[in-house]
């Protein structure tokens, strides 16, 4: 299983990127860290005629934080850079802690957050926490640009809402909300360094003892990272007693649609969704109380 032949472009500006893509968007793969792209080209899971590398494009690696506008993670910002960024650690600890569980030190120094999202795997570990934070992606095309909520951007395994001739220039995270409690839990039954068998990100505010703005997001248990809307609704506006939390956790279990893989069977993943959702919600409620 050798890497198949393709044309390789290393543009220095966005204009050059779009020129290289031209009308061959469907035959093009963009290259960030390549930690997903190269193995998938080698195994034949992805095919392309040309690869356009983004790492030489000036400015795409920026990580910007502004208390008013929030956090912007450029397409080429490395996982390790985001994980170690002081603003991320202070204002978005859930993202830093999720990245900490993603792959290994070596991979985190090569791979990007945006690559993790654009790869559109159900187990992308940055997706649930970024969804819980209400992140959006900025999509740039040859002529214009627009934004989409991250929740909904990933449409299926290896599929996103991006048009073939577009790229994601950055991920945008809203300004920090000091009252929003967030947590990310990831589990593999095999090793501490593994693709998730199940992951859960949860967020809520406690207002007068009631749970508000509840978000529960699950990884690896559906064709895409998913919002567990019914589970969140089971908690929204209620006092988070252990009965209510149990109900939300059971609801999440009913809501997910996992498939069996090498890490866990469908039934075990369903069970894990319940256990991890319960633990996540408990952690949120107990965490600040």
């Amino acid at each position: 299983m050798r890497l198949p032949a393709f044309d390789y472009h290393a543009p220095a500006t966005l204009d050059e990127v779009f020129a290289a893509i031209g009308d061959r968007g469907r035959d093009t793969q963009l290259l960030a860290g390549g930690t997903d792209l190269l193995p998938s080209l080698r195994s034949g899971k992805r095919r392309c005629r040309q690869v356009v590398a983004l790492k030489g494009v000036a400015g795409l690696d920026a990580i910007r934080f502004d208390p008013e506008t929030g956090l912007e993670i450029g397409a080429c910002a490395l996982l390790a850079e985001v994980q170690d960024n002081p603003a991320v650690r202070e204002h978005y600890p859930v993202l830093a802690s999720a990245i900490r569980t993603l792959a290994t030190v070596q991979v985190r120094h090569k791979a990007t957050v945006v690559g993790n999202l654009c790869n559109a795997s159900p187990c992308a570990d940055t997706a649930p926490p970024l969804m819980a934070l209400g992140a959006r992606v900025r999509i740039v095309g040859p002529d214009d640009q627009h934004e989409l909520p991250l929740d909904g951007f990933i449409t299926g395994p290896r599929r996103t809402a991006r048009e073939p001739e577009e790229l994601i220039s950055s991920v945008l995270v809203p300004p920090p909300d000091p009252a929003l409690r967030t947590v990310f839990l990831k589990f593999s039954p095999r090793s501490k360094v593994d693709i998730s068998a199940v992951s859960v990100a949860a967020a809520l505010r406690l207002e007068d003892g009631l749970a508000r703005a509840v978000g529960i997001f699950l990884g690896t248990v559906a064709p895409t990272p998913m919002r567990a809307a019914s589970a969140a609704a089971a908690l929204e506006g209620l006092e988070p007693t252990s009965e209510v939390i149990d109900l939300a956790a059971r609801t999440a279990r009913g809501e997910c649609q996992p498939v069996t893989d090498f890490r866990a069977s469908k039934e075990y993943k369903q069970h894990l969704v319940e256990v991890l959702t319960r633990r996540a919600l408990r952690a949120l409620v107990e965490g600040g109380a």
Binding site: P189, S191, K192, D194, F262, E267, Q270, L272, V275
Partner: protein, 776 residues
């Protein structure tokens, strides 16, 4: 030479059995000289070697588990530009080979399939081309017409009446039997107060050595071959390559560069060794093969899956009266090292404890799975998983503490497995007592908490094998020692360091004998043309004991010559004992009568017309039973916490106390212990080659899960010092035995924590949760 470095006062360091005065190297924590090169990427492995005009090889493997080859047409592949050579089973001599030269019927492989393929991955053809892409493209152009045959994938299925025969010579798929019998078993069971029978199954796992197999061959104009290959056993490869190529053994030179691990998986001649050599001769250009990780995982050798039934008889007080073990090994398509594993499972079924009556019936069964082979422990991990799990269950039912039950039956020095082995040094009891203390066993057993448990398991292992299945006519280990007038010494040996650090240990042994420093020793190794015949290589934890003894034998002969120089120079009384130490040769009773070693060499050579001062040393075990000259022992406790909601068992700590005789280099022993724990953690919990009708489903390191650094539990260890008379400076093995107790110790701890008793490895959260009543 500084005067401050006075030679040591008596006693002579080399004569002290266990640990000597400060300048003795025995027992020193010496770091590995090759470590820096390996971690910085400077070490040269086979795949790093490039020769001018070199071609790249690739193997065509069978996509089906069992089929007749009706037709092979390689003409399109041969016509592809850049392809220099294509060979199939028709193009090369159909010579059967295998490590069991002593029993030719057991040699059941040809380098390329001739008329039949027997597993998915069986080697069918090989290509050599100007680059790897062309070689792979050519594989796709080779047309093979297979006539598929019904296939068998399980041991019981293969043994059933009317099952398709994997080898026509064995219509019942039974490749071989191994029996061990002694004592009166019927009487033992009749007299027993308590009898139990358990069946355990163990699974296939990969060696997962870091360096995939690689071979590079060059042929000279006379057709003689030089082969660089990633091997544990250069001598076997030399002999078997010569045989398959119809050459004399000395027409083949095998060179072993740095090797990135083997664990038993690199101790045979493999098809790519042959194909590289054959195609190099055909094309006149060097040819290199390097396997991919996927090939390694999907088609490589693996640990034998075994079904073991063990029946054991006790008296009420816990005394073992007798034991009956049957084992069925799933061998896959060929024998490989299976005959040895089949015997060793029987041997380890009766090790550790005094078993007065024993019956073993082991069978090796052909299936259409990828063939298994030797893997660290060579049958012992499977046998001891079954045996130790059963001991723990018996202890529970007899109401005896598991450590007490073991102490009651523990083997002692002088115990024997009749006709098979006699135990020399043995610190097993001390190991058990110390590990009880170290792990806080009694307190923890008295106050059990749900989800938490301690578990114990023990091991014994061989220090090299005695039985000469390769039928060599050379010594099992050889060494040549040369000393120079600049105060250095050279050791030349074919003993194969494959990452375990034996090069350092052998240099250490030589330096100790000659009273030199490690830096004074030069090592020439890993080349059959330069090294004395022979050394059987690295397997069965044999190198320290066997090659170590060969080194001492050679060193002592050199020492005698050097000692003569001191006697002459100082006109010493004949009763003076001469020793080496601190870089000098000196009189033990009058240490001031001394000569620097280099000067003594110069004197000896001047007196002999400059004839180099060197000696050859050998070791071949004789009269030490069938199995091994010496046995290690040890006991291990695992402290495990199980998350009762997710089912996840997490090892909190490992406690190990072991007896490897004299610890020559404690740092090297610790490395073996840590590596063993890592490997066995995977065997117990996360690793399994998942098979579907002969196809390996998880043939990537993403899907086949090895434990990583973050998974490693903290570990505490102690050694029990014994002195093994057969071993160099009292040493015996520390390489494989330690790989055996971890899985049963963890399984026992999980049993204590949850009640789940593992009869089928690996232990998984789902199995634990199901036991706890969850419907998942």
């Amino acid at each position: 030479m500084s005067e401050a470095r006075t030679p040591p006062a008596a006693p002579d360091p080399a004569a002290r059995p266990v640990s000597g005065p400060p300048e003795s190297l025995i027992g020193q924590r010496l770091p590995r000289p090759d470590a820096r090169a390996k971690v910085t990427g400077a070490a040269i492995y086979t795949d790093d070697i490039q020769l001018p005009g070199m071609l790249y090889g690739a193997m065509l493997r069978s996509p089906v588990a069992h089929a007749l080859i009706k037709r092979i047409d390689a003409s399109k592949a041969r016509a592809l530009p850049g392809v220099k050579c294509v060979i199939t089973g028709q193009d090369v001599p159909a010579i059967r080979y295998g490590n069991w030269r002593l029993v030719p019927e057991l040699q059941d492989e040809t380098v390329l399939a001739t008329d039949k393929v027997r597993f998915i991955g069986d080697e069918v053809a090989a290509v050599a081309a100007v680059d790897k892409d062309t070689a792979e493209a050519a594989l796709a152009l080779i047309e093979v017409e297979y006539q598929e045959l019904p296939a068998v994938f399980g041991v019981d299925e293969a043994l059933a009446d009317g099952a398709p025969a994997v080898h026509d010579e064995h219509p019942d798929n039974l490749s071989l039997r191994r029996d061990i019998d002694y004592g009166d078993l019927e009487q033992a069971f009749a007299a027993a107060d308590y009898v139990r029978e358990d069946t355990f199954t163990t699974h296939a796992v990969s060696h997962a050595y870091m360096e995939p197999c690689s071979a590079l061959a060059r042929a000279d104009s006379d057709g003689r071959i030089t082969l660089w290959t990633s091997t544990q056993t250069p001598y076997y490869v030399q002999c078997l390559l010569a045989r398959t190529m119809e050459l004399r053994e000395n027409d083949v030179r095998v060179i072993k560069p740095a090797v990135g691990g083997g664990f038993g998986g690199k101790m045979e001649l493999r098809p790519w060794d042959f194909c590289a050599a054959w195609m190099a001769r055909e094309t006149g250009r060097p040819v290199k093969f390097t396997l991919s990780r996927e090939e390694e995982l999907a088609t490589g050798r693996r640990r034998h899956p075994v079904k073991i039934t063990s029946k054991i008889a006790f008296r009420q007080d816990g005394t073992i009266l007798g034991k009956e073990v049957t084992a069925k090994l799933d061998g896959g398509g060929y024998n490989g090292m299976g005959p040895t594993a089949t015997f060793l499972i029987g041997n380890f079924g009766a090790m550790l404890y005094k078993v007065p009556a024993y019956r073993y019936r082991g069978i090796y069964v052909y299936t259409n799975n990828p063939p298994a082979g030797a893997m660290r422990g060579f049958g012992a991990p499977q046998a001891l998983f079954a045996g130790e799990m059963q001991m723990n269950k018996a202890a529970e039912e007899l109401g005896i503490d598991p450590i007490e039950l073991r102490l009651k039956n523990a083997m002692e020095p002088g115990d024997a497995i009749p006709g098979v082995a006699t135990i020399g040094s043995c610190g097993f009891r001390e190991c058990l007592e110390k590990v009880r203390e170290l792990s806080g066993w009694d307190a923890r057993m008295a106050a059990k908490l749900p989800g938490e448990g301690l578990g114990i398991a023990c091991y014994s292992f061989i220090s090299g094998g005695v039985f000469n299945w390769f039928n060599t006519r050379y010594p099992f280990s050889s060494a040549e020692v040369k000393v120079f007038d600049d105060g250095t010494a050279q050791l030349t040996t074919l003993a194969a360091d494959i990452g375990q650090g034996s090069d350092l240990i052998l240099c250490q042994i030589l330096a100790e004998e000659l009273g030199l420093k490690i830096e004074d020793i030069r090592l020439v190794t890993g080349d059959t043309a330069a090294c004395p015949q022979s050394d059987l290589g690295t397997w069965g934890s044999r190198v320290t004991l066997m090659a170590g003894n060969a080194v001492r034998d050679a060193a002592r002969q050199v020492k005698e010559r050097l000692a003569e120089m001191v006697s002459l120079k100082f006109d010493l009384n004949v009763i003076h004992e001469i020793a080496c130490g601190g870089g000098h040769v000196y009189s033990k009773s009058k240490p001031s009568r001394r000569i620097p070693l280099g000067e003594a060499v110069a004197m000896a050579q001047r007196a002999n017309r400059g004839r180099p001062l060197k000696a050859s040393g050998y070791y071949t075990p004789r009269d030490v039973g069938l199995v091994s000259p010496a046995f290690s022992f040890g006991a291990q406790v695992a402290d495990v916490r199980v998350d009762l909601e997710t089912g996840l068992p997490e090892v909190q700590r490992m406690f190990t106390v072991h007896d490897c005789g004299t610890e020559l280099n404690p740092m090297a022993v610790e490395g073996q212990l840590e590596g063993s724990i890592q490997m066995s953690l995977g065997y117990a919990l996360s690793e399994e080659l998942l098979m579907d009708r002969g196809r390996t489903l998880n043939a990537t390191l993403l899907d086949y899960k090895l434990p990583v650094a973050e998974d490693m539990p903290p570990s505490v260890s102690e050694t029990v010092e014994t002195y093994e008379p057969e071993g160099p400076f009292g040493a015996k093995e520390a390489g494989e035995g330690l790989a055996c107790p971890t899985a049963p110790a963890i399984a026992h701890a999980v049993h204590q924590a949850t009640g789940y008793f593992c009869r089928e490895l690996p232990i998984t959260p789902v199995k634990i949760l199901r036991h706890l009543g969850r419907e998942i």
